[in-house]
């Protein structure tokens, strides 16, 4: 295309240029001709333009965050309701805030389910007792509050060019301990000082048993 030897061509600013001349083709023109090969040297060069490269980061990325959960506990029945949930995460530079917030919402919903509802329970013979949604409690819309999600604290990651960090699991990791700690704190403040731990899921029956244990 440029009628020049390979050694005379330099790639700069998205253009292939023959050194010392004004002859140049853009990256787009080169790519187009690779797929429309009517004057391509088909005997020596296969049409198409494909390349794969791998980026090997120098280290993992470490997001950091703090999650706050407010619950109400009905001590007569053990029922827990999540009143509010606030997440503050440092994900480094955020490319698309909407999908990052959605990812956190989904993770927190999953974490609330894990903390309060979901239970894979077997009997002594190994029979699964929670084998259908009649007994396996999935979180539903009414089980979760509106979330407040903040990612205004930005500490750019130092070992990748975009300065980004992972956000996929943050919500699911931060929420279960926030929910369970909120329940324990509520019970302590309510005068049930002996309750220091409840296994997940923190079901109404388990909360009631802990209060009356």
């Amino acid at each position: 295309m440029l009628e020049a030897a390979e050694g005379d061509i330099v790639f700069e600013d998205g253009k292939f240029q023959v050194t010392g001349t004004d002859k140049a083709k853009t990256f787009g023109e080169i790519a187009f001709s690779a797929y429309v090969p009517h004057n391509y040297p088909l005997e020596t060069l296969e049409p198409g333009l494909e390349e794969t490269s791998f980026y090997d980061p120098a280290n993992f990325t470490y997001p950091a965050g703090a999650y706050a959960c407010e619950v109400e506990v009905d001590p007569e029945t053990g029922q827990v309701s999540v009143c509010s949930f606030t997440c503050a995460d440092d994900f480094g530079n955020v490319m698309n805030p909407m999908i990052v917030e959605g990812q956190v919402h989904g993770g927190v919903g999953q974490g609330i389910g894990q903390a309060l509802l979901e239970n894979t329970s077997y009997d002594e013979n190994g029979q699964l007792l929670s084998g259908s949604y009649m007994d396996y409690a999935m979180p539903r819309a009414e089980d979760v509050p509106f979330y407040t999600v903040d990612h205004s604290c930005v500490t750019a990651c130092t070992h990748n060019p975009l300065g980004v960090k992972g956000c996929g699991e943050a919500g699911a990791i931060g929420s279960p301990p926030a929910v369970v700690n909120a329940v324990i704190d509520a019970l302590q403040r309510g005068g049930y000082k002996h309750v220091k731990h409840i296994d997940m899921p923190v079901s109404p029956a388990r909360v009631w048993a802990a209060i009356n244990g």
Binding site: E76, T77, G78, Q79, L117, N119, S121, L129, S130, Y133, M134, D135, Y136, A137, M138, S203, P204, A205, W208, A209, N212
Partner: protein
């Protein structure tokens, strides 16, 4: 699901005749029977639908009571019983979800007598009369234990007749997964006394809590049952709650129902 025949009679007499045949099974809203058939746990030869019989549909006031056709869906009861018997309407409006409430029927519910169903508590606490194609059965004689009723082969619920109490309320505590009643309590106050019926808690199905009835008949306040003790040793114990937990719910929910009535 196995192969079956389907008939939809338009009169009680035709339905009774169809149900007298070998392998015939009454179908109302199908909220329990159809899933059971889909799982191949039931294989009736002929399903006899009861939803095409005009006399078995609807809600009406008669002789000072509320008469509800056996094939009336929960959603219709929730809407039409509201001015006359709001506690019963609220119970119907709290069963399952909209799809269930538009298919499931009162007759189907009490014929199945699931230990966690809502309707049996209302029928028993109201002292209602269950009218079948053969006879009239008092609620106290109708419920005979988990999934067991006084209904005989070929007998089906045409109508349920509810006396209307002075005050009433139903309070249920949802099982976290299915949202059936983990325990539910219906309290009804009549001129001659209070009736309290409990669903979801007992291995024997819906039952009346006699001690609470006596205490509340003397003093219709939640405080009146404060000193009562409920024995949880014979109550349902499963992954959602022990017998002791259900016994606690019986007392808590009874108090709340009295306050709400």
């Amino acid at each position: 699901m196995y192969d079956f025949e389907f008939v939809k009679p338009s009169s009680i007499a035709e339905a009774a005749k169809a149900l007298a045949a070998d392998g015939a099974q009454a179908l109302s809203g199908g909220q329990t029977l159809l899933p059971t058939m889909k799982q191949r746990l039931a294989a009736p030869g002929t399903l006899v639908s009861l939803t095409g019989i005009a006399e078995m549909q609807g809600v009406c006031l008669s002789d000072g009571g509320l008469h509800i056709g056996g094939a009336t869906p929960h959603a219709v009861v929730a809407a039409q019983a509201k001015p006359h018997y709001p506690a019963l309407a609220a119970l119907a409006g709290g069963i399952g979800d909209p799809a269930v409430r538009n298919r499931g029927t009162i007759g189907g519910s009490i014929a199945n007598n699931d230990p966690a169903a809502c309707y049996p508590s209302a029928v028993l606490a109201s002292g209602a009369t269950v009218v079948t194609n053969k006879r009239k059965i008092a609620a106290d004689d109708y419920f005979q234990g988990m999934f067991t009723t006084a209904l005989e082969e070929g007998e089906f619920v045409i109508e349920v007749r509810f006396p209307i109490p002075q005050k009433a309320a139903y309070v249920k505590f949802n099982q976290p997964a299915s949202r059936f009643a983990l325990t539910g309590v219906f309290v009804a106050k009549f001129a001659d006394g209070v009736r309290v019926a409990v669903t979801g808690a007992s291995n024997d199905g819906v039952f009346r809590w006699a001690e609470a009835e006596a205490a509340l008949s003397a003093d219709f306040r939640a405080e009146a049952i404060a000193g009562l003790v409920v024995d949880g040793s014979d109550m349902i114990s499963d992954l959602h709650g022990s017998g002791a937990y259900r016994a606690n719910l019986v007392k808590v929910l009874t108090g709340r129902a009295v306050s709400a009535a």
